[in-house]
């Protein structure tokens, strides 16, 4: 089991009203799965992704990552997991300002030991080409459209070829054509064995996955296999 969540809760307690975003989520994802998470705005999808991706701390519950208890990870373990095992595509992109697309994509590799710098740069360019961003390699984030920023963020998540890809609405800002291409990339990666968990609002995007989990008010209300899976390379019908 790659991801095993047992009764996870998450409370936000910063200034202002305390909010409970997750109320007991129990979930298991095996290696090689492709899971779509759906649910209304505010239902806790992003929160769940952050907890899975070790970007935010859970409040209570148990989390086993790759059969290891997450409570036992220290700062160095977590950094290594975030760096090499998980690629995260943020809903808000979070690209580094005043930094070229290429350098943004290469950002995780700064923290990866024993990397061949030249080969990595070449790989970054290949990934950007696959995401149709070859002509934007030297642009800075504020010079890109929303969709281009989203694809740059996806490229960054892929650079270290992580086992687990967590994508928070990776097609949220894309036209249907670019969206289809992103889904093609994700499906290919999944075919290659990468585990993917993706948040989406669109039914037809979700049906590119193999399993759909629906959240409501911080709880899972349904968890189903996709009966008729779309293949992005055949085109997505809305």
């Amino acid at each position: 089991m790659l991801i095993k969540l047992a009764n996870i809760t998450k409370d936000y307690v910063d200034e202002g009203v305390p909010t409970t975003a997750l109320r007991g989520v129990t979930l298991a994802v095996s290696a090689g799965e492709f899971v779509a998470i759906m649910g209304a705005s505010g239902s806790g999808k992003s929160t769940l992704m952050h907890v899975i991706g070790f970007l935010d701390k859970k409040t209570t519950g148990q989390y086993f990552f790759d059969n290891e208890n997450a409570n036992e990870f220290d700062d160095a373990n977590l950094a290594q997991i975030r760096n090499q095992k998980i690629g995260f595509v943020f809903q808000a992109y979070n690209l580094l300002a005043r930094t070229s697309v290429l350098d943004n994509v290469l950002l995780p590799t700064i923290y990866t030991p024993h990397l061949d710098v030249k080969a990595t740069a070449k790989k970054a360019r290949e990934i950007l080409a696959k995401l149709n961003l070859s002509h934007r390699v030297d642009y800075q984030p504020n010079q890109l459209s929303g969709g281009e920023q989203q694809r740059a963020a996806i490229a960054r998540a892929l650079i270290n070829e992580p086992r687990l890809i967590l994508a928070d609405e990776p097609t949220g800002n894309l036209d249907s054509h670019s969206g289809q291409e992103v889904m093609e990339v994700l499906q290919d990666l999944n075919e290659e064995g990468h585990t993917i968990v993706m948040v989406t609002h669109e039914k037809y995007v979700a049906e590119c996955a193999r399993r759909i989990i629906t959240l409501k008010d911080g709880q899972i209300i349904s968890d189903q296999k996709v009966a008729e899976r779309h293949l992005a390379k055949d085109g997505l019908i809305k």
Binding site: H50, G53, F54, L55, D56, K57, D75, A76, A79, Q80, R82, N83, Q84, F88, F90, N94, L96, A97, R98, T99, D103, L107, P108, I110, Y111, T112, P113, R156, N160
Partner: protein, 410 residues
């Protein structure tokens, strides 16, 4: 992450945020440059003043009118005119054992003219032994003689600069000049001495003391007296004898009621040393303030950018930076900025000090450029500490947050 990679990313990162990096460095540059320049000026000024007292000559005893306690300043320093010292006092002191030469002084300011050339100059009434007392030399002609004193002769000896200012290419000896409309005959020109104290000796006009007292100023007292003692060991006993003579002449029975004060050059040096030391401390305080100002500048920039930097740290952690990586990055950034700023600050500070030295020297003073290594050390140390502390502190805080908490920072 390898060291060179960190260095490269640090350099890029600083270049990406030019304004921020520049403003941070500016704080350091200002602080360091100000401290170096201010401390240098203090040290040079002290050196200049002390050197000038030493240049007055060693083995000198100074007699000032008015009482003063041993460490304090004579009242004459504050411009209070005390009339207790007389020409006759000087003559009596001259007769004491071990005294080589004596000179009493009065000073005035006046318009000195030669043909249609006029200049505002200081004139000094002195006694014939002035050149011995002050280690001065006559370049051409002669100095004032005892006969000139006795006759209240209207003769003048010009400082080298006063001579060249008034006469230009003309030969000054035996020419007539007017001091405040009174005609004097030039009998000598002094050799060049260079600026000393607050007055340039070379711009002085020397006339017989008695002439100055009676004809120019209409007074009976003298401003001060200087006596040269034959050797250093005899200074202390000589001071004692001078005091005795003056008390006898002034009918003083109680030493605490002295209407004069007697000091050796060594004592004067001590007093001046403590005054200039106080001046240096004051300047050091000013320097400390500029360091604080520079430090606040650095702090400001760090605080203004803290939320942007917090988000950056959140992102870096999200893609795999360890706490250590973050701290290294910020340490390198701060170190690079503080060392660069420090170096520029040192260069600027030394340049300012040199410019001041050049400027003062152009007025004829022997202002030595003194740069204390300790001031450089402290300036850079303090600026670097502020830079490092305020660079690392927010970074450390952000590095302890979860990546999302840091990324959400507004």
């Amino acid at each position: 992450m390898r060291f060179f990679q960190i260095l490269k990313y640090t350099k890029n990162n600083l270049a990406l945020n030019k304004t921020r990096s520049f403003l941070t460095m500016l704080g350091i540059i200002i602080g360091v440059a100000a401290v170096i320049a201010i401390v240098s000026v203090g040290a040079s000024a002290q050196d200049l003043l002390l050197a000038q007292v030493k240049a007055m000559g060693t083995n000198l005893i100074g007699i000032l009118p008015g009482a003063s306690d041993d460490q304090g300043l004579p009242s004459a320093v504050f411009g209070i005119e005390v009339t207790t010292l007389k020409y006759e006092d000087a003559l009596e002191i001259r007769n004491l054992p071990d005294i080589l030469a004596i000179c009493a002084y009065v000073t005035g300011r006046g318009t000195v003219g030669y043909f249609n050339q006029t200049k505002e100059l200081n004139y000094t009434g002195v006694m014939p032994e002035y050149p011995t007392v002050e280690d001065a030399a006559v370049a051409t002609g002669r100095f004032i003689k005892q006969e000139d004193m006795d006759n209240m002769a209207r003769v003048a000896v010009l400082g080298s600069k006063a001579a060249s200012d008034l006469f230009g290419q003309d030969f000054p000896l035996e020419k007539q000049i007017k001091i405040n409309q009174i005609v004097f005959k030039v009998v000598g020109v002094m050799a060049e001495r260079g600026a000393s104290g607050l007055q340039n000796q070379d711009e002085q006009v020397f006339i017989p003391l008695r002439t100055a007292q009676k004809i120019m100023l209409g007074i009976d007292h003298v401003a001060y007296i200087r006596a040269k003692v034959d050797k250093e060991a005899n200074i202390e006993p000589a001071i004692g004898r001078v005091k005795e003579v003056l008390r006898f002449r002034h009918h003083i029975k109680d030493a605490t009621k002295d209407d004069f004060s007697v000091r050796s050059t060594a004592q004067a040096l001590d007093i001046l040393g403590s005054i200039t030391q106080a001046l240096k401390m004051f300047l050091a305080a000013v320097a400390a303030i500029s360091l604080i100002v520079g430090g606040i500048g650095i702090m400001n920039i760090m605080f203004v950018t803290v939320s942007e930097r917090t988000r950056e740290i959140g992102l870096r952690k999200a893609v795999g930076a360890k706490r250590r990586d973050i701290l290294w990055q910020f340490l390198m950034e701060s170190a690079l900025m503080t060392s660069l700023g420090g170096v520029i600050g040192i260069i600027l500070g030394v340049s300012i000090s040199s410019a001041i030295a050049l400027g003062v020297n152009s007025f004829g003073y022997e202002w030595k450029l003194i740069i204390t290594p300790l001031s450089i050390f402290w300036a850079v140390f303090m600026a670097a500490s502020v830079g490092l502390i305020f660079g690392l502190w927010p970074a450390n805080r952000a590095s302890l947050m979860s990546p999302m908490d840091a990324l959400r920072k507004q």
